[in-house]
């Protein structure tokens, strides 16, 4: 009977200890970010690794999500004759919720795991100890530039995700309309007229 209780107590204290260590770690990162030296070159390198290298996955996912929203949204709205609010539905859900949330998940999955693997290797091969022996704070050199780069690229990636999502929704609708109502070339250009899609509904953010 004692062991399960002991185990529970142990995991509970362990959880609190981990929380405390996480908070301390966050404090160290902030302190290193505020104190000199500013490692601008490292920061730029990390922006490339975490941001630029995530561009493909972010744009492809954004495109797919936008298309799905448009497909399902249209099919539902059209039953109530409310298909003209498709732009608002897609725009609202992407800009307000889906864009930032999915970007955060994707960035954690790609950039976050890559960073973890990289720092893990540095620990295993004693590179962080080597830094300490060279009187260089590993948090300052290794962690802070990555954390700052992540803070910097996340909103940009989210914006890109949203743009690709909207484009995906637009492209999907356009393709559907062309399929169902094949018309003259004039008809096509009329359909493509961006005004129809990015009219007030899309930019109208309050439901």
């Amino acid at each position: 009977m004692v062991t399960p209780v002991e185990d529970l107590g142990w995991s509970a204290t362990r959880f609190v200890v981990d929380l405390g260590r996480l908070a301390l770690f966050g404090f160290q990162v902030v302190r290193a970010a505020l104190a000199p030296p500013l490692r601008v070159r490292r920061f730029v390198q990390e922006v490339f690794k975490l941001g630029v290298l995530s561009l493909i996955i972010i744009s492809v996912c954004g495109l797919a999500v936008g298309m799905v929203l448009s497909l399902q949204g249209y099919n539902t709205l059209v039953r109530f004759g409310a298909e003209q609010s498709l732009g608002a539905v897609v725009g609202l859900s992407l800009i307000r919720e889906l864009g930032p949330v999915l970007t955060a998940l994707l960035a954690t999955g790609r950039a976050g795991s890559a960073t973890t693997a990289e720092i893990g290797t540095m620990v295993a091969t004693e590179q962080l100890d080597a830094l300490r022996m060279m009187s260089v704070d590993p948090v300052d050199l290794v962690v802070t530039p990555r954390a700052l780069a992540m803070v910097f690229v996340m909103p940009l990636l989210a914006a890109l995700f949203i743009v690709f999502g909207l484009f995906g929704a637009y492209a999907h609708r356009l393709a559907e309309e062309l399929r169902h109502e094949p018309g003259t070339f004039r008809h096509v250009t009329y359909r493509i007229d961006p005004k129809r899609f990015r009219s007030r509904e899309l930019l109208y953010l309050e439901p």
């Binding site: 091969t125 004693e126 100890d129 080597a130 022996m133 060279m134 260089v136």
Partner: protein, 265 residues
């Protein structure tokens, strides 16, 4: 002329001293009470079997890990009284050559060597480049500047690691298994370099190794790390020792019984 006894007194005072150090990782005790002294300006080699805590001794001296009890003095400072940040000035006196080099694998060889100079000196680009070239020449490497650590052979990694460890002219050089995984020629080469560091930079060199042959050739002082304490003396004293533990170790395990032939896996 200076009398020999005076010279010896200054040369023989302990530069690094561990006393009654108890070290454990969680429940696993590495050693209960280790005391040893490393004399100034000498080459000391710490011998011991795998898992005897040899590397831990170096990590304790560098302040990378902290013991549960005891005291450690490095160049007159009690390092256990210092926080991680307060250790930085002490560590500037220390150079450490890690077992597998621990070169920063995202940087080229040149960057790896220039890095400590950029961090801690105010030298111009040209001065730093010249210092890096000079260190690479000193360890006998050329045309490796632009290579990444992953593109170097084991022996080259060790030499770059040594060059980096001494680039800030430390007064104490710590070497973790400098001969492991090397062919006999590279062993001789690294051995020669370490002796040169000791003679030319007058650095106290502390080496952790289980390479008996080079130890016996280069060590001024040998410390044998055993589960129940240490045995230390000059290489000659250890060679003449009749202590069965010393004899077993120096004969490279010749007297240790092999596992029973009928043992099952």
């Amino acid at each position: 002329m200076v009398s020999p006894s005076v010279t010896n007194a200054t040369r023989d005072d302990p530069h690094v001293e561990l006393s009654r150090v108890r070290m454990a990782f969680g429940d696993r005790e590495v050693f209960r009470s280790v005391s040893c002294r490393f004399r100034r300006g000498r080459i000391s080699v710490v011998l011991g079997g795998s898992g005897s805590g040899k590397s831990t001794v170096l990590r304790l001296i560098g302040g990378l890990v902290r013991p549960q009890a005891g005291s450690i003095r490095v160049d007159g400072d009690d390092i256990l009284q210092r926080s991680e940040r307060q250790m930085y000035p002490i560590r500037k006196k220390l150079g450490m050559m890690f077992q597998d080099g621990a070169l920063l694998d995202s940087m080229t060889v040149f960057e790896n060597l220039a890095f400590p100079l950029r961090e801690h000196t105010a030298g111009s680009k040209a001065e730093i480049a010249a210092a890096v070239r000079a260190s690479l020449d000193a360890v006998g490497l050329s045309r490796v500047d632009d290579l990444l650590p992953g593109q170097l052979s084991g022996g080259m990694v060790k030499r770059v690691a040594l060059a980096r460890a001494i680039i800030l002219r430390p007064i104490i050089l710590l070497c973790d298994e400098p001969f492991s995984g090397l062919d006999p020629i590279s062993v001789k080469l690294i051995e020669g370099l370490l002796v040169r560091v000791n003679r030319q930079l007058h650095a106290t060199v502390i080496i952790v190794s289980h390479h008996i042959a080079s130890t016996m050739r280069m060590a001024d002082n040998v410390i044998l790390l055993l589960p129940d304490g240490t045995i230390d003396g000059t290489a000659e004293e250890l060679r003449r020792s009749t202590d069965p533990r010393v004899v077993a170790f120096l004969n490279e395990g010749a007297d240790v019984p092999a596992p029973a032939a009928d043992a099952r896996w």
